[in-house]
Amino acid sequence: MSDSSVFDRVADALDEMTDLSRLESRGTLRIVLKKAGFEARSVSPSELAVVLQKLLPQELVARGIENSEQVSEALVSSLSEVASASEGQDTPDAVFRRLSS
């Protein structure tokens, strides 16, 4: 199952901005997403932005990356230009939110 384009984009950016390899960047992002209860294939840019702000810095520190706060902020900024197909998708939470309206 393929990951969302927004995940791929952020993983590539993390790879470029740090000493982490491509595999390590993707793995770090996956761990952060899992801790927040999301999946790489369905996370939306707005959700990913919050996850990056709240959870990524400490994961980067744990991997010896300096300026973890700045790296996270830069990744969040890059997301503001991204429009993803996953935004507004009929995910289970979107369906269950609707079902009580």
Partner: protein, 257 residues
């Protein structure tokens, strides 16, 4: 006394199912979305109309044998349509793109269709689907096994999503009321799953009297659990939901400060 308790549990579930099913279908008419159409259809047909017909066939005193047989057959058909709607709901909402989701859905559907058609063709007049004298038969067992698989799957998906939503809640990306909806839907699916287990056990032990009474009590209790969880999953009081979400928002902002 035990028979009355059994009837009360199932009737309570049936009434709540009609209420929730109709409201979901009214919602579906407004939104024109597939998931609410499927959930509403499933709850109304299997828990509401289908169950009402099987209760009527079992306890209504004025039905002729031919009318009771017709009610049983209609109940089997409508309930199966409701179960199928639930299978599609679980597949479409949780695993639309997963190959294994398509396989499990296809398997459950095939077993349900074969079980239902076979049951309709072989069921004899006077054979009930509810109560101590219920008859399942091999086609009925096939249909129940399909439900076990599908409702077990639905239950696992709901609790798994509940765990994910709890993690989102911790970073302020979910509302408490939405998180608890997955919990109650999981309870609802689990209670249905347990009812199918009780039915299979009943069939296997050939209706020993004591076990029949125990299974009636368990089914009655599960009926109350189903009614409560179904209502909580979809129509928790708005005031309560707002209060819970407001508390949650306050807690999140306090954490952020």
């Amino acid at each position: 006394m035990i028979a009355i308790l059994g009837l009360a549990g199932l009737t309570c579930f049936m009434l709540v199912s009609v209420w929730v099913g109709v409201r979901l279908l009214l919602l579906a008419r407004r939104t024109r979305q597939l998931p609410e159409t499927l959930a509403g259809t499933s709850i109304l047909l299997s828990g509401g109309v289908g169950l009402a017909l099987s209760i009527a066939a079992t306890v209504a005193p004025n039905l002729t044998p031919a009318e009771a047989h017709l009610a049983v057959r209609a109940s089997i058909l409508l309930s199966a349509a409701g179960y199928l709607a639930l299978y599609i709901f679980v597949w479409v909402v949780f695993r639309r793109q997963a190959v294994w989701g398509r396989i499990v859905f296809g398997l459950c559907t095939l077993m349900l269709l074969v079980g239902t058609v076979g049951d309709l063709m072989t069921r004899l007049p006077g054979e009930q689907v509810l109560g101590p004298e219920a008859v399942l038969g091999s086609f009925g067992v096939l249909s129940v096994v399909s439900r076990l698989l599908a409702y077990g799957w639905a239950s696992a998906e709901s609790f798994s999503y509940y765990a994910k939503m709890n993690r989102r809640l911790a970073i302020g990306l979910a509302e408490e009321s939405l998180v608890s909806r997955f919990w109650y839907w999981g309870i609802c699916m689990s209670a249905s799953f347990l009812i199918w287990v009780v039915m299979l056990v009943d069939e296997a032990v050939a209706q020993a009297d004591v076990l029949a009474e125990i299974s009636t009590v368990i089914t009655a209790l599960l009926g109350f659990v189903l009614a409560g969880s179904l209502h909580q999953a979809f129509f928790r009081k708005r005031g309560l939901e707002s209060a819970v979400d407001a508390c949650d928002a306050n807690a999140s902002s306090s954490r952020a400060v």
